[in-house]
């Protein structure tokens, strides 16, 4: 079972986890990306996420299918927020259930990494000083999304 969706309202994480229940599963791994109150020395007050949903949903289904096929997990899902988010809100949720823990950790890590790099989702940061900007477009504009290594600036623990 694979699924990806966007949500314009706060995520009900326990409900998302219940959907991955499976009697064959010996474990469950989850990653939550949270909105952090600072980024690269700036105090962040809130975030806005915007997505090209029609394309993002297709690409996300490809990512989750890749993870399930590559690591042999039972179930995987991912939900990403759009709209205005406050400090501490869950911006993205990834959950994987599987027979053993190793493939669950790996599949979860794969999904969040690919989601960050491949999905057409954009983040606008608002700062204490009243400034704002689109991350990777106006802030750190030399960094493009089409690369293999990790971004060096995240405003969450992701």
């Amino acid at each position: 079972m694979i699924s990806f969706s966007f949500s314009a309202v706060p995520l009900d994480c326990p409900a998302l986890q219940r959907e991955l229940n499976d009697p064959r599963a010996g474990g469950f791994v989850c990653f939550e990306g949270w909105v952090r109150n600072h980024n690269e020395g700036h105090d962040v007050t809130k975030l806005e996420y915007e997505a090209f949903e029609a394309l993002a949903i297709k690409e996300a289904d490809r990512i989750i299918t890749e993870a399930v096929n590559q690591f042999g997990v039972l179930r995987a899902s991912c939900v990403h927020r759009v709209g205005s988010l406050a400090i501490g809100d869950v911006a993205v949720w990834v959950g994987v259930s599987s027979v053993h823990r190793d493939e669950a950790f790996k599949a979860c890590r794969y999904i969040i990494d690919e989601v960050k790099h491949r999905l057409p989702i954009w983040k606008k940061e608002y700062y204490v000083n009243g400034d704002s900007g689109w991350v990777n477009c106006e802030r750190c504009a030399e960094v493009t999304h089409n690369h293999d290594h990790e971004h060096h600036h995240h405003n969450k623990d992701s």
Binding site: P120, I121, W122, W134, C137, H145
Partner: protein, 277 residues
């Protein structure tokens, strides 16, 4: 007197750095520039070839043509001229760049009608600076040794060679016929002149583009034939700050190549650097 037979060569090996896409493959009215140039030369030359670098032999745009492979590297168009002359040294060569969207049969026929086989070359005078235009020129067999010597002394520029040689220099019958295109903006201008059937394209704007365009989507009537040209046009219109190389593009909700052919009523979205998660 009997002239040497006239063979044609299309120069299509350029690196196209400023164009950002392969110049030979860009299209006007459904034909690649390479195809247009090859067809024009085929009408007036007894044999026609395409000049390629060694790494372009199996390239999909070029593979279908009779090729002449460069024997020098880093020599630009002069490598193509030298390779053609080495392959058929007793022929005269009408050697033409592929990136001349306004070249036509009348201009080539005029060049041939006014060919002076007593000189080493027959060329047109540039309408921009009155100097010879080397990339639509007939090179007689008598130029073979001159070209070889020119390369031998470390020179690369065929134009400088023509300036320093005794050649027949003609006025162009049509003033813009030899204008070439080097940038997406120049390509777009050429399409506006050549193409009479613009497309209706639905463009979606996200994130920074939405803010800079001041709208989420719009219907654009455009002569652009590819997403790359459409972006060039919209960048001119809205002053988009992102460079094409930072972006991806989608047509009808799926990722696409920048030089894909746009069709009537396509939905196009330009994708700024992403920041999900």
């Amino acid at each position: 007197m009997i002239h040497a037979p006239l063979y044609g060569l299309v120069l299509a090996g350029g690196a196209s750095r400023r164009m950002q896409v392969d110049k030979a493959a860009i299209e006007y009215e459904g034909q690649t520039q390479l195809q247009r140039a090859f067809n024009l030369l085929s009408v007036v030359c007894s044999k026609t070839f395409v000049s390629v670098r060694a790494d372009q032999v199996n390239d999909s745009t070029r593979i279908a043509y009779s090729q002449i492979v460069d024997r020098h590297t880093d020599l630009g168009p002069l490598a193509g001229i030298a390779a053609a002359q080495a392959t058929h040294s007793n022929a005269a060569w009408l050697i033409m760049a592929c990136d001349l969207p306004f070249i036509n049969a009348q201009t080539l026929q005029y060049l041939i009608d006014h060919r002076d086989a007593e000189q080493m070359a027959t060329a047109f005078r540039s309408t921009h600076d009155n100097l010879p235009e080397p990339l639509c020129t007939i090179w007689e067999p008598s130029s073979v040794a001159v070209v070889r010597n020119w390369i031998g002394i470390g020179q690369k520029c065929p134009r400088k060679l023509l300036i320093n040689s005794s050649i027949a220099l003609l006025e162009q019958p049509q003033s813009n016929a030899l204008d070439n295109i080097n940038t997406p903006a120049e390509h777009l201008e050429a399409l506006k002149i050549l193409q009479s059937r613009p497309l209706n394209i639905n463009v979606q704007y996200f994130a920074l583009f939405r803010e800079q365009a001041g709208k989420r989507d719009e219907l654009i009537v455009s002569v652009a034939t590819s997403p790359a040209l459409l972006y060039t046009e919209l960048q001119q219109r809205y002053g988009f700050t992102l460079e094409m190389k930072q972006l991806k593009v989608a047509i009808n909700n799926e990722f696409s190549e920048w030089n894909a052919a746009l069709k009537q009523n396509d939905r196009v979205a330009f994708i700024p650097p992403v920041a999900g998660g």
